[in-house]
């Protein structure tokens, strides 16, 4: 079976307005099909749609909890906001910025730039998780256990689920950074990074939403 050549010099630079999605849902003209030799490889466009579908599903999960939050009238119960959450917010917003820088560096073929900024993003992500744990600790110390009232209960569930999804994002980032360049094509790597970056931006936006829902909606 002939193997796919992975020559970097012959890969065309895709000029596609930012994240590569050409807007095509496929119309059966054969251009969108995998006509590759190896049945166990995935063409890049699938990743773009796949990640958007994932985000829809994750959004439904948080929507379900939000509806519970409203139904249980959680905001009427007291809850304090751990001040470290401002740091969390800053960390995740900056990490969205750094992942964007990393993504664009990769697009410009700057492998070293990509590696540096992805590592910064991962560090910021880990910092975010650490600050979340600090926030939890603060809440516990202040007597706001998960079962103190609805507001605290939902706070732990929301931030916990968000954190778990963030850990998933960190694993994706590690994978994208550490996988040897010769194991995948430039285009495939780029699309994977695009997908991970979108996921990361989503988690950032989700965090802002959760902050607002839990602490600013009175």
């Amino acid at each position: 079976m002939p193997t796919l050549t992975k020559s970097k010099t012959t890969e065309p630079l895709v000029s596609d307005g930012g994240n590569g999605f050409d807007g095509s849902w496929g119309n059966g003209d054969g251009r969108d099909d995998d006509n590759q030799r190896d049945p166990e490889r995935t063409p890049p466009e699938s990743y773009r749609i796949g990640i958007r579908l994932t985000l829809i599903s994750v959004a439904m999960l948080f929507l379900a909890l939000t509806s519970g939050y409203i139904f249980n009238r959680a905001k009427n119960h007291p809850l304090i906001m751990p001040p470290v959450l401002w740091l969390s917010t800053a960390l995740i917003i900056v990490s969205s910025g750094t992942i964007e820088v990393a993504r664009r560096a990769l697009r410009r073929r700057s492998e070293s730039g990509f590696k540096i900024w992805i590592s910064v993003t991962m560090a910021l992500g880990l910092g975010f998780l650490a600050s979340q744990l600090t926030a939890w600790h603060y809440l516990v110390e202040s007597g706001f256990y998960i079962n103190k009232n609805f507001h605290s209960g939902y706070a732990y569930l929301f931030t916990g689920l968000h954190g778990v999804h963030l850990i998933g994002g960190l694993i994706a980032l590690a994978y994208v950074t550490l996988r040897a360049p010769e194991k995948w094509t430039v285009v495939r790597k780029r699309v994977t990074v695009d997908a991970t970056a979108l996921y990361w931006h989503f988690l950032d936006g989700l965090w802002i939403y959760l902050l607002g829902l839990l602490f600013f909606w009175k």
Partner: protein, 573 residues
């Protein structure tokens, strides 16, 4: 050249969508057999509540005291029967088993979009089944609150046998299942959108593909809700939250912690998932029925585009009607009117599909093979079950029928039989392609008739019971005066159930014997037009031996005037 894959890589941890499809199929089959045995135990109790079964006590020492089936055991069987059948059979077999196997082939591509995710999804489902079965073996046994798992009963671990570790395992199993389904749905949607061969536009896809596609979209949106609910319930059970626990409860005199929560919240979350779930169970079957009807009526499906739109409409409207499971919860009557009207509105696309099936059959020269019989049987059962759904969708009537056997009769006809007939039809139809052998036609017909008559004999009396006011999930109804005269119906149903389950042995014998038959099947034994009949039998690893098919035609070009044969394959220019 890479070395050929070893046994484990080829059959256990395979990335081949066909192998994964077959794995899902056998998972569903195993779950169905266990679920059927549980249903027989349920029937034993209902027909003869005070009878002693010493030999059953040997198998279930705690479920049977002095040979008498304990009510908790009965309820555990009810719960596990429902859970196994709805999740592990009806959500798995039509969508994950046949969908994974045939979607790529019918689209003309070599593999699903994400093979590794496909593999993970199956093994996660397998794990989920294992955890669910484990609930039968922990202290206290399986949970007893019904597959709907309503709190406060389900939120209090000490509330009864099975509500302890058994309920936790149930919740964990469901959580894993939700995640596995989510992964599977991503795969199906992306494959349908991005992996169609040249010439296969969306409106040239077989209706089976539309069924799987719509179902995947439903799964994507509904399973996260169940996951959230299960997470919150686990928190209520073990972390002291009270999302679902109102205050002031006590159990056997002991007060239960919890304050201010709402059992209604669980119902809303559960049914917001639960109603789309039932459409998830039936839509692939609808696609398969359309597909098979066209094949054996030698006619195109009547109103292909309407069929597509109807499926999409059912998918959309299915999300708007969850409240009809909660009519007696004391909801605002205006909201009830909205839910009721929307429930009846779903009858419209369903009716469109039914009339189009009849239109496909009208004037056709029917080849009444076993898959065709099951497909026509599906229509009959869908009409029966669907009509009683319209009855239940009316709030005033549901006030009487909620939690009676009328509801049980309704959903068994439509899920427990129509959807299952869809699975049988698909099995008989695609068996030659999957396993390169034909199933025995005589045994198949015998299986069909016994099952068809059997299920009507079982489930029509359910409606009679329901109208008489017979409640659901009661371990012993014969101690109530007004129900005592119904015991002969219970005996009839139970005998019919045993006969019908026995008839399934015919299917099993046919299935397993045919697997090892000598005579190989042809590539296109049914003279079908769609791409799965274009492949080798069984299909090779990349489905089309390196030559991706080009599609020139609509999917159901049967009996085209002027054509040399009575069918034109999609690949013929």
């Amino acid at each position: 050249m890479t070395a050929p894959p070893g046994f484990i890589r080829k059959y256990i941890f395979s990335l081949d969508h066909k192998v994964i499809g077959v794995q899902y199929f056998f998972l569903a089959l195993a779950a169905a057999l266990i679920g059927m045995l549980m249903s027989l135990l349920i029937r034993l109790r209902l027909a003869w509540p005070q009878k002693r079964w010493p030999w059953l006590e040997l198998i279930f020492p705690q479920g049977f005291r002095d040979g008498l089936m304990q009510p908790e055991f009965y309820l555990a069987m009810v719960t596990m029967h429902g859970t196994l059948m709805i999740f592990m059979v009806l959500t798995v077999a039509p969508q994950s088993a046949f969908g994974n196997y045939f979607l790529p082939i019918q689209l003309g591509t070599r593999e699903m979009a994400f093979p590794v995710i496909n593999l993970s999804s199956f093994w996660m489902t397998f794990l989920s089944l294992g955890v669910l079965i484990a609930a039968l073996f922990v202290e206290g046994g399986a949970p007893i609150g019904g597959w709907t798992f309503y709190p406060p009963l389900s939120a209090v671990p000490s509330a009864g046998p099975g509500q302890g570790p058994g309920a936790d395992l149930w919740l964990v199993s469901i959580g894993i299942f939700c995640f596995a389904s989510f992964l599977g749905s991503i795969n199906m949607i992306v494959t349908t959108l991005r992996r169609r061969t040249k010439g296969m536009s969306l409106l040239r896809m077989p209706l089976t593909c539309w069924g799987w596609f719509t179902t995947a979209m439903i799964a994507l949106l509904s399973f996260p809700i169940l996951f959230a609910a299960a997470l919150m319930l686990l928190a209520d059970r073990h972390l002291g939250t009270s999302f679902f626990n109102p205050g002031g409860l006590s159990f056997s005199g002991r007060p239960i912690a919890g304050d201010g929560g709402s059992p209604l919240l669980w119902q809303h979350l559960f049914w917001f998932f639960g109603h789309p779930e039932v459409y998830l169970a039936i839509l692939p079957g609808m696609g398969v029925v359309s597909h098979i009807l066209a094949n054996f009526a030698r006619k195109p499906v009547f109103g292909y585009r309407a069929m597509v739109l109807a499926m999409l409409a059912i998918g959309v409207f299915g999300f708007l009607i969850w409240g009809h499971h909660m009519f007696i919860s004391g909801m605002n009557p205006r909201i009830a009117i909205a839910f009721s009207m929307l429930t009846l509105v779903i009858g419209v696309p369903s009716a469109i599909k039914t009339f189009n099936w009849l239109g496909t059959l009208w004037g056709a020269s029917l080849h009444l093979t076993t898959p065709m019989l099951f497909a026509i049987g599906f229509i009959s059962l869908f009409i029966s079950g669907g009509l009683t759904g319209l009855v239940l969708g009316q709030t005033a009537l549901d006030m009487v029928f909620h939690d009676t056997y009328f509801v049980t009769g309704h959903f068994h006809l439509i899920m427990g039989v129509a959807a299952v007939f869809g699975i049988f039809a698909a099995t008989y139809y695609w068996f030659p392609k999957m396993f390169a052998r034909m199933m025995n036609e005589q045994l198949g017909k015998l299986h069909f008739w016994l099952t068809f008559i059997g299920v009507y004999t079982i489930f029509v009396p359910f409606h009679v019971l329901g109208i008489a006011g017979h409640p659901r999930r009661y371990a012993d109804t014969l101690k109530y005066e007004y129900l005592r005269s119904l015991d002969s119906l219970h005996v009839l149903i139970t005998i019919a159930a045993f006969v019908t389950v026995a008839a399934q042995l015919i299917f099993l014998i046919n299935f397993f014997r045919s697997l090892f038959a000598d005579q190989r099947a042809a590539d296109n034994p049914w003279d079908g037009t769609t791409l799965e009949w274009f492949t080798a039998t069984p299909p090779v690893r990349d489905n089309f031996s390196g030559k991706m098919p080009v599609v020139y035609r609509e999917p159901y070009e049967y009996s085209v005037p002027g054509a040399a044969r009575d069918f034109l394959m999609q690949t013929e220019p």
